[in-house]
């Protein structure tokens, strides 16, 4: 039988409001982050979802039909969908930015998925997540890296 024992880093400081800080990082990456002057605050994530209510011309272009509507050539940008995809990314970025409150987002990962609802209608979803970090000191001057070749 073994008993679990709570341990505490001697001299560790309690985080504000008792809220533990969270991060995707661990081990040497976490050590490097702190050593470089940033402290993880929390995992930050935001999702945006944009619905495309397709115009006739969008539907035609996505189906490969040549439309004479508006004199569009057969090979042309499907602007409605392109704008929606741009908007999804931008909104996710704005949402995550709203959570940062002056901190920075580090090691961000963006995952975009699109699903066709039918007749050109689409739903674009964008998930943006990363580590919210706070700078507690400026970057120490770093010498220029010295290139090496690893012999194996």
């Amino acid at each position: 039988m073994c008993a679990a024992r709570r341990s505490r880093w001697p001299g560790a400081t309690r985080p504000p409001d008792g809220q533990p800080w969270t991060t995707y990082l661990a081990g040497q990456r976490l050590a490097k982050l702190i050593e470089s002057g940033s402290m993880p605050v929390s995992v930050a994530a935001a999702v945006s979802s944009v619905r495309v209510w397709a115009y006739c011309v969008t539907e035609y272009l996505l189906n490969g039909s040549t439309s004479t509507w508006g004199g569009r050539p057969a090979v042309s940008e499907v602007t409605q969908v392109a704008s929606a995809r741009m908007a999804a990314r931008q909104i996710a970025r704005e949402h995550v930015r709203a959570q940062l409150g002056g901190d920075s987002l580090h090691g961000a990962q963006m995952i975009v998925s699109e699903s066709e609802v039918g007749e050109g209608d689409q739903e674009v979803q964008c998930l943006l997540r990363g580590n919210r970090v706070r700078r507690f000191k400026e970057f120490d001057p770093i010498p220029a890296p010295r290139p090496t070749v690893r012999l194996r």
Partner: protein
Amino acid sequence: MDLRGELRRAVQSLHAAPTRRRSTTSDLSIDEELLLHSIGWEPVELVAGVSLFSVPMGVWNWGQGEITSASSAFAGAFEAASHRLHRQCAKVGGHGVVGVAIDRVVDRHHVDVSLLGTAVRPVGAKRIDDAGVFVSDLSARDFTLLAAAGWSPLGLAAGGSFVNAPRRSIGATIQQSSQNVELTNFTEAMYTARESAMERMQSSAIRMGGSGVVAVSVTEGPMPFAGHAVGFTAWGTVVRLAGDAHRTLQPSMVLPLDDPVVAFEAAALRGS
């Protein structure tokens, strides 16, 4: 390194409000960010560029030679996505974008290109004119090495070509039946596609004023939705010499002494 002391100081910072006025977002790793700082650059913002071009119905199955509609759609989508990335970078005050992840999908009726990267600038530098902004798919490590060698990235160059492999004549089909022979129509179509795509990428690099294209990625092969069409796409970062001459990096040799130990397998004691 006094990690414990640093951690204590870092945790203390959570009690205070953040000091930086403008926050940054980036998809760079901590190593990449440190590398950028070592040459006096910093990340600014995560930026994206997306475009989607239509391809008309029926072009993949009938016709001979290059499928010009598909090739133009690829070129148009890449250019539009790159232009948007460029514009976003200039808008957020970046001087360039590094580590651009390129995702491209060639579908029966449309070609999609999406680009995602981190806008960077020299530490504390002011906004520059759109024309001076570069876009590059080089990682921060490659960007640092390139800068150290006296070169600078200019932009992304791409070329794509899609070609119909002509159908064999009845005579040729009968002659080749039950034989293991090369289908030269596919080989030639691939050569044509490759030549055109590489030529387009090189022309794009010349238009930007570059002297070379590095980190070129290519995709090639038959189209999964069209039995007689093959495609070849290529993209890379256009570079040019920033100074008077190339600086040799002269890397030093490192011999790691941490050879992996062959693991002992207890099961081996049992014999076979």
